[in-house]
Subunit: 481 residues, 2 copies
């Protein structure tokens, strides 16, 4: 344990974005690609995405939604059909103008989202009420042009799922919108251990082409807010322009109601930010690529074979968990500790000759560095308990942070001061006029993030924090990433 | 069973490509997209891909290979680094020239394969022999421009996995090349029930930029051959141009050896072609989205509730299988039989009042329409046995077809006649000169498909079927799709 080298890591409290970039690169989650705005997701980062995918995919399928695949190319004319939609996305488009060596007659847009290409097909497939609901989802790659890369959070290409459904009634569509949002909430709370507010977006902040948008709003340690996943009530807007109709039970033609909803690799950015500390990542056990790392202490006097055999034996005992044995010979024990801390593995088991003799093993938690000595027979049960405790502890900590940083203010002066001093969420009455929202943004960089679901049906009465006119509900404001 | 409507389907023997298109569209596996050369993979087709993915992904991970994700965009300069590589792919490229509303300074190519973008990163990451082997795989979308769409088989965009590994020695790389090919062989034989020849490609037919390419060659019912999956020994070709080096055990700089290998949604095209019949798809049980469909017979006198309850009860008994109950009320029993035959579900269980009374159920096989009556207690065991039998039977049939259509010929005249009359594989001595290969292609449209692995080390002596010069080994010739 002599040669304790510390991997250089910017302190989280000193320079948050420097720390973030360091952690992403040094934990080998991702790297900058030789294409502007793009990133490479490295295996350690990709397993996190696979783990999220596995859980979310199950939830999506449980709603009766089936996976499919639609082309990455959208003909320009298709994208332009819904006016708000194209207006919202046109600054971010990547355009293919050459194919197979020839200039294309019609430019092809690389999907920034797939409403238009999917709904052109839905219009073709949908004939009768018996074909409804149409419930489809895609796991794919999306391109929205970015000048500056912010790993995971803002990249020209990212990965996501996008669900797109069609229903007979608006009620049924709204149920899907809320069910999809509820899945995102579950993924965030139960798997990523990230507390946030589910709510509805303001008219200015909603998805381009939606009647209304729902969101799960997250708070990062630097006090900024992040849209964790969104679910949209598209009403009949796209049905109208894509001429989607069906023969109803009474043999008359009807226009259906649609929804779309998406969850992306951005969530991994939130995960890193919310839980990490000055030693690197802290990963919630449920989605951590490795849950326990066994580190044999290869001292000069130790029998390597004996240590490795014991490590394998323990791994077998812990086969219900994701276990890795660190067999590296060239690195010091201290270097390895740092490396696994950097990578955020929730639990490590240190295994030396003494531990084998005593039949007691040291478990060290990544979240608080607490160490316990556990006998061989209790190992599996104890590991399960500790991992549960870490998972719950991370969520509790995240919840406390969000609640501590959700503030109420008396007037607009205090609003401005508070936003400047702390950022975070401010909960305030707002008259729901876009003008006030714009003015507030100009003054404070804060926009409405959402009206929390739990406040939607409250009957309150107050005065808009900006214009003092009558306001019915308190909205959450914050500076967006 | 009065209203027995037959879904119109072209006969396989009458018009093979018409039949193929009909089946793909009517079984709702895929559809033409409103973008030239592109297709939509519909849920029923996509589940087949998910089932293949699940198995192949396990096999890939068992080799120690980890999944990752690299950008879809490749800067033009990167793609041009390896000369043979860019020459091979340049006619098929889709090019982005506009991003975020501006003309790009450097054009971006949409990946036709990811060697170049990945190896630019490998060059950065690889430092020492301790970083080797690098073993990565991607599941992603690929674009290679096509003027004419042939659903699944030839589309501008397709889905695949591409594995890319880096090794210290050529021996180690060759082991990976063969292990990857072996996985493809297993997927084809054990899951897709498609017999074929694993072998090595000729110099003219190998991957652009490879030292050598290995393939699994398939024969379709119209006698054409299809490359089922390929695995490449890249030698040090890309390492040279991307300057990939590492510090060896002796502290000297070395250049590593690389491999790449891919398996795509093309395989679904082969699957449809090889097994289907005049009634539609026939799916091997191991990858079929649905393994057994229960069809309650909703006659006028039947109690609907009783039938549905019994169907659910049987589904529960068969919970180890993928079971669906056909609850549709509007369609006739006959229409449903046709529909499930079209969709290729391996086994159907017909459930009427009589069956419930007798406690014996009719099972009908899709492959040969054999019907058996089974008592309730033997159900699960019998289903397992029949599904195994169908799976094995499909492979046997495929093997017989390939062997029956692999012919030997005495001379070039017979070669030409045979290829014209039957297509299929012809096994013939070839001197391994590209000139003869080209001439044969001109005369017969047939190229060398591969030298089968089992013949690679044979020491034979014969005369080239074309030039009569000395030849050491017999190659397989065929017309490629």
């Amino acid at each position: 344990m002599a040669n304790f080298e510390k991997k250089e890591l910017t302190k989280k409290s000193d320079n948050f974005s420097g720390w973030y970039q360091d952690v992403v690169l040094k934990a080998e989650l991702a790297d900058y690609a030789p294409v502007k705005g793009c990133m490479v997701i490295r295996p350690y980062g990709y397993v996190i995405w696979e783990n999220i995918q596995a859980e979310l995919d199950k939830m999506i399928k449980a709603l009766g939604v089936k996976n499919a695949y639609f082309p990455i190319f959208i003909p320009e004319t298709l994208l332009k059909k819904e006016k708000e939609h194209v207006k919202g996305f046109s600054p971010e488009l990547a355009v293919v103008t050459i194919g197979g060596g020839e200039e294309l007659k019609e430019k092809l847009i690389i999907r920034p989202t797939s409403e238009t290409i999917m709904y052109a097909m839905y219009a073709k497939w949908l004939q009768s009420y018996r074909d409804l609901p149409i419930l489809m989802n895609q796991w794919n790659n999306i391109v929205r042009w970015e000048k500056r890369t912010y790993l995971f959070l803002r990249t020209t290409e990212f990965l996501w799922q996008e669900g797109h459904t069609v229903h007979e009634t608006h009620e049924e569509a709204m149920k899907m919108v809320r069910d999809a949002l509820d899945n995102y909430l579950k993924i965030y709370r139960d798997y990523l251990a990230i507390y946030g507010y589910p709510g509805i977006k303001s008219s200015a902040e909603k998805f381009a082409g939606a009647e209304s948008s729902y969101t799960y709003e997250i708070l990062t340690p630097d006090g900024k807010t992040l849209q964790g996943g969104t679910s949209h009530d598209l009403g009949q807007k796209f049905a109208k322009v894509f001429n989607i109709k069906y023969l109803g039970r009474d043999k008359k033609l009807y226009m259906p109601y649609q929804t779309s909803w998406g969850f992306s690799t951005r969530s991994i950015g939130a995960l890193i930010m919310v839980h990490g500390d000055d030693n690197g990542l802290i990963l919630p056990p449920k989605i951590s690529p490795i849950q326990i790392v066994i580190i044999p202490v290869f001292n000069k006097n130790a029998s390597k074979d004996k240590l490795v055999a014991k490590a394998e034996e323990i791994k077998e005992k812990l086969k219900n968990f994701r276990v890795e044995i660190d067999l590296r010979q060239e690195e010091t024990f201290g270097w390895k500790l740092n490396d696994w801390e950097m990578r955020g593995v929730p639990l490590r088991l240190e295994l030396g000759e003494k531990e084998i003799r005593d039949k007691k093993y040291s478990l060290v938690r990544r979240d608080n560095f607490e160490k316990v000595k556990i006998g061989e027979n209790e190992l599996s049960l104890t590991v399960e308990k500790i991992l549960d405790d870490i998972q719950q502890g991370l969520l509790n900590k995240s919840k406390k942070f969000v609640l501590d940083n959700t503030r109420e203010v008396k007037n607009y002066e205090e609003f401005k001061k508070t936003m400047k001093a702390h950022r975070g969420f401010i909960r305030a009455y707002w008259c729901e006029s876009s003008k006030c929202e714009e003015k507030i943004k100009k003054d404070t960089k804060a926009t409405t993030r959402c009206l929390p679901l739990e406040d939607m049906d409250k009957k309150e009465k107050g005065k808009c924090i900006y214009c003092q006119k009558e306001a019915k509900r308190k909205w959450l404001f914050g500076q967006a990433y």
